[in-house]
Every structure is written in C-alpha cells, then in structure tokens.
C-alpha cells in the first residue's frame, strides 16, 4: 500500500501533448476514479503510473520514492485491463498464479493464495478451466484475481467493466468496491461511465483535454461543479442548461442573459403546484421516457432541449404544452461567457 503523487506530469507523443502537466496526490488506501470524455488522457495517465508509458516531464512518486525511471515490475503495482488480458493457453489457476510469477513464496503458499483469491471472487469451481470456457464477467474476475494475489502497493483499473452488459457491470461494481473495502489498497480506476465514478469513488478526478478540471468527492462534484463541463458530466441524465439573467427575486430564464442556469432533470418537476418560488419553464413535450417510478419528459423550451421528471403516474402526451418548475436552492448558476460556476440559487 502506498500513496501516489503526480507532480506536473506530462506525456507527449511527438508534438502532441496528451497529458498537459497534472498534479494530484492520492492518499494511501484511497479509491480514486478518473473520468472524462474519450481521448482526454485518462488511460495515458494510468499507463504512466503503471510504467507502461514513459513520462515526458514531471515526477511520479509511489510511496516515498520517485519512480519515473523504474520498470513496471519494480513499481509493484497491479493492473486490470479493459480486454482482461488473461491468457487463453492457461487455466484460471495458472492465470491467477501468473501474478505471483516473480514472487519468492513457496509453492504451498502460492497455491493457498490462489485458492483464497478464487474463493473471494467466486471462481472456486472454475480454477481448472480455460478462459474460453468462462463468461465475460468471470474472465474479468480472473484478471482481478491475478492482480489481487500479488499484494501490490496499488491497483490500476482501465475501464475494466466496459465490455460487460449493464447488469453484470452493476454487480462487478459492487464486487470491486467490496474488494477495496476489504483489502484497503490504493486504487486508481479509469472509466467514462459517470455512474461507476459516482458509486465507487472516494474522490473523482474529472479530466478534459489532458488537464484536470476538478478533483473532489462525488457529492462535492455533484453539488458544486467548477464549470458547465463537470456539471453536465456528473449526474444522469445530464443537467439542463438554459440562458438566464438575475432578477430582484433571484434568477429567471431569459435568452441572451449573462448567466446560464443549470437545473438537474431530477429537480425539474412536471405539473408543479400552481405557486412556489424558484423557476418555471413551459415548453412542448417532444418525447417521454417512462422509467417506472417516474417518467423523463423531454421538452422544447424556446428551442432549448430540457429534460424534466414527472412523478405522478400520468404521462404527458407528446406535442402537448407542459409547465415544470424547480425549487429555489436547486439551481446552479454559471457565467455565460466563461462557463465557470458562480454559485447555487
């Protein structure tokens, strides 16, 4: 177990800067999730930590040591890849045991660890199978098992669940989380699924174009995003944004105003009570998505697409006019020009 410190970390591919000097310090035992759009440099950063990619500039510390020049094996980290990278010509047992290839443990000790990892991951019955005879989720568990037996100072995950279906993903999410609670190993986890980020992370790192935009706990990011990008990235469905301006009672929707008002679809209730403070919007229903307990209503408000939530059972008709409102206190205000967060209202 160890801390990981990134100081002004840069990765250049020829003239292209994929990672543009990022600073981050990860505490011992912390679960940090990197999120961001495709191509923002998440994998590159992770691979620099792993030692698979050379560091162009800056320093990387694992524990007390600067490890810029060290080979992956000297860094004692374990990594789980998106395509699992488990070997088709070895059994599950051999694959898991592969993590111990260089370890000096005795044969019995190794076997014990493999059995143990197999048990924790629910692979006991498959230890002598080949990967070809496993499901996607089981394969990913083998990969995790190989990382686990090592007792590494950190776990690195690069989109480990993106090849799995939604249900399995939800299940594996919990398993990885549980594993972390049990082993308390420092973990860096890359994903572009914001649900994974929100549910698993101690802290989320939002990246964009090779920069870190914001670092914070899931609720910090949800409650006070630094800008429009983070605000829209965290939370599902994405936050609604409409032009607005300040008024003496607070804020109101207006085109060409100097602020942007962000409203989470969750807070924007369709068919509101007639009175109440906050903001009211009226638009044409363009689509409805019934989710069971609630219905997402897509509206067109003066040309801006907006998503609201209808909580009663009546589903509004497409094409009808609908008014919805969000209470004051639930609004996020952004500068219309710089898109920076101004505060809540």
């Amino acid at each position: 177990m160890a801390t990981i410190e990134l100081e002004k970390l840069v990765k250049r591919y020829g003239k292209v800067e994929a990672v543009k000097g990022i600073d981050l310090s990860i505490a011992d035992g912390e679960f940090v999730v990197f999120v961001g759009p495709s191509g923002c440099g998440k994998s590159t950063t992770l691979r620099m930590i792993a030692g698979l990619e050379e560091i162009s500039a800056g320093t990387l510390k694992i524990g007390p040591d600067v490890v810029n020049e060290r080979d992956p094996k000297q860094r004692n980290i374990a990594m789980v890849f998106q395509n699992y990278a488990i070997y088709p010509h070895m059994t599950v047992r051999q694959n898991i045991g592969f993590g111990l290839y260089t370890s000096k443990l005795s044969k019995q000790e190794k076997d014990k660890r493999i059995e143990e990892a197999g048990k924790i991951l629910g692979l006991d019955d498959f230890l002598d199978r080949r990967p070809a005879a496993l499901s996607g989720g089981q394969r990913q568990r083998v990969a995790i098992g190989r990382a686990m037996v090592r007792d590494p100072s950190a776990f690195l995950f690069d989109e480990p669940l993106s090849n799995l279906d939604a249900q399995l993903r939800a299940q594996m999410r919990i398993e990885i989380k549980r594993l972390h609670q049990r082993l308390k190993t420092t973990t860096v986890y890359v994903t572009h699924d914001q649900v994974e980020a929100m549910t698993m992370a101690d802290r989320i790192v939002v990246m964009k174009d090779g920069h870190i935009l914001q670092v914070g706990t899931p609720s910090e990011l949800y409650e006070s995003p630094v800008d429009v990008f983070t605000a829209r990235f965290i939370g599902s469905p994405s936050m609604n944004l409409i032009g607005g301006k300040r008024s003496n009672t607070g804020v109101e929707a207006a085109s060409g105003g100097d602020i942007l008002i962000g409203i989470r679809p969750h807070d924007l209730a369709a068919n509101p009570p007639a009175q109440g403070d906050g903001i009211r919007l009226t638009g044409t229903v363009t689509a409805v998505e019934p989710l069971g307990p609630e219905t997402l209503v897509h509206l067109d408000v003066d040309g801006t697409p907006v998503i609201a939530t209808a909580r009663d059972k009546s589903v509004p008709a497409v094409g009808s006019q609908l008014t919805c409102s969000a209470p004051s206190g639930s609004l996020y205000l952004f500068d219309a020009r710089t898109e920076a967060f101004l505060g809540r209202s």
Binding site: L52, Y87, Y101
Partner: protein
C-alpha cells in the same frame, strides 16, 4: 395449391420480396433449405470438378501405374508389387531416402528458428520496417533457377566465389562446397532455407502481430523479463502459426527438387548422388529411364512419407486439452 402457398407467403411478408409475387418462380417453390443447398453446391461444383480431373484422377492413376511395368513404349502390364520390392532393395533409394530426411530434419528446425528470430526482432524495428520486410521476402519471389545459379556462383572457388573470398580474408582455408560429396547437401540446403525464409518470416510476423499488446503489458506489470515473456506467452500463443509452418516447411523439404536440380545441373543430384532427394530420383526414373511404373511406385512412397510426416506432426503438436 401452389397459388395458395404463394398467397400465404405474400401475406407473411407484406412488403413483398423479389422471389414472391403472383407469377411465382422456381426459387419460391423450393424451401429455404433447398435453395441454400443449391447455392452452396453451385459454387462448389467448379472446384470439385477441377480437383477431380486435375488432382484426384492422376493420383489414382499413379497408384495404378505403380503396379504396372509401363515404359511409354509397350502397353502397361500389371506386375503386382514388383516395383515396390525392387525399390526397397535398391541401395540408391535408401541413399536418396537418407538425403531427403537430412533436408527435412536439419532444414526445417534451422529455417524455423531463423525465421522466428528474424520475425521477432523485425517486429520491433520501426525504422524502414516495410522495406526490410520486403527485402526478406524478395528471395521468395525469385525463380529457383536464377537463385540457384547465383548461389552456385557464391560457392565457386576463389577468386570467383564470394564466400571463399571472405573465408580467405578471415584466414580460413577454401572450401569445396557443392563440389564435395560431404558439403554439397548442406550447401544446397542453405540455399533452400534462404529461399523459403521470407515467406516464413511474413507468416511469423502476422502471428506475432495478432497477439494483443495488452498480453505483453500485463506480463511486464507482473514482472516477467523478456525471456520469460517469450517462453510463457509469445511461443505458446504462436503455436498455431508454428504448427502451420512446421508442416508447410516439412512438406517443402520433403519435396525439395528445383534447388538441387539447378545447383547441380552437370550431374543432377551429384556429386555421387550426395544431394539427390526423392523427387529428383523420381524425375530421373521417369524421364531419363522412362520406367514409368517404377517412378509411380516411388511417387506413391513419397506420398505415404508426406502423409505420415504431416499427420505425425499435427498429432504431436495438437492442442492438448
């Protein structure tokens, strides 16, 4: 009856289909299964016909001829196993047999190890990668005759032969190469290995490229060195490629002919029959001695050898469960 069925089909597919419609057609009357079979056999018919006429018929004919004494002049007469008995008593056959297996047993491993080593390192070379690869492939495109003549020239005594020149500079006495019964076979083999190398390198490189790079990355993170990665990951994953090349290259060496023939034109298979492979013996029996029946028997023996060696290799190298 048919009309009713057509209506049913048309109703099932309201958008209609080219084969449906009121006039109907042969194709719409046949079941899906039958139509598919017709297509499949339609496409297979030509190659099957071709193989039957060009391959299987002559093969069977050779089997038949091997039991006759046909010599082009007189009509063939069945002689039973006489040709085979003669062959197994012929000391020349056993000499040729030994030569052929020397080509196989020495040539195949050397050429595969060499091809793999070159492919393995060439795979990492970024600088002029395609050009270098093309250079290695070039011998494969060259005609055996031209190549053999160039190598003959290499093997000449000094000052013509470049190899002897180099040996001379290094202070090593000159070597007779293809003039010596001891060295000729290996001199020819070097040429043959060199000729096949390009193809094997290309195949090995394709095999190496097909291994996902995360396999290597995962192994590096688990702390394996280059050698361990090669042994534990690259070679096992490359096994299907290797099996293919072992069989392919073995067949090549068992059938070696043009390198030998072109490098020893004055006395094909010489000196003293020291380079003569089975195919050359067949060629001489058939087209110098016109003993067609005897040559056919030799061909059948070659066929059996090829089959046994290939099957044996496939069996030894099979995927163990």
């Amino acid at each position: 009856m048919a009309a009713i069925e057509e209506q049913g089909a048309a109703m099932g597919r309201p958008n209609g289909s080219p084969s449906g419609g009121p006039t109907g057609g042969i194709s719409s009357r046949l079941s899906m299964q039958t139509r598919r079979l017709l297509w499949v056999w339609g496409f297979l018919a030509l190659p099957i016909l071709f193989y039957t006429v060009i391959r299987f018929y002559p093969t069977l004919q050779a089997f038949y001829l091997s039991f006759t004494n046909w010599d082009l002049l007189r009509p063939a007469k069945l002689v039973g196993f006489a040709n085979y008995i003669k062959l197994f008593k012929d000391p020349q056959f056993w000499k040729v047999f030994k030569n052929t297996f020397t080509y196989l047993i020495v040539g195949t491993p050397i050429s595969l190890v060499l091809a793999f080593a070159i492919a393995y390192f060439l795979d990492r070379v970024r600088f002029m990668h395609n050009f270098i690869r093309a250079l290695y492939f070039l011998p494969f495109l060259t005609t055996a005759a031209a190549m053999a003549w160039v190598w003959r020239w290499f093997y000449q005594p000094p000052p013509i032969g470049i190899i002897n020149d180099v040996l001379g500079m290094a202070g090593i006495p000159q070597q007779p190469f293809i003039r010596s019964p001891d060295q000729a076979l290996f001199s020819v083999m070097v040429t043959a290995i060199w000729a096949g190398l390009g193809f094997q390198i290309i195949i090995f490189m394709a095999g190496l490229r097909a291994i996902p790079s995360t396999f290597y990355e995962a192994a590096r993170i688990d702390g394996l060195g280059e050698w361990a990665i090669l042994r534990k990951i690259t070679l096992p994953l490359l096994k299907p490629t290797t099996v293919f090349l072992v069989v392919f290259s073995s067949i090549g060496f068992l059938r070696i002919f043009d390198q030998v023939y072109n490098m020893t034109t004055n006395d094909p298979g010489g000196p003293l029959g020291s380079t003569k492979p089975l195919v050359l013996m067949i060629y001489q029996t058939a087209f110098n001695s016109y003993a067609m029946g005897y040559a056919a028997a030799q061909t059948v023996v070659l066929f059996v050898i090829l089959m046994i060696v290939s099957l044996l290799q496939l069996f030894i190298l099979r995927e163990k469960k």
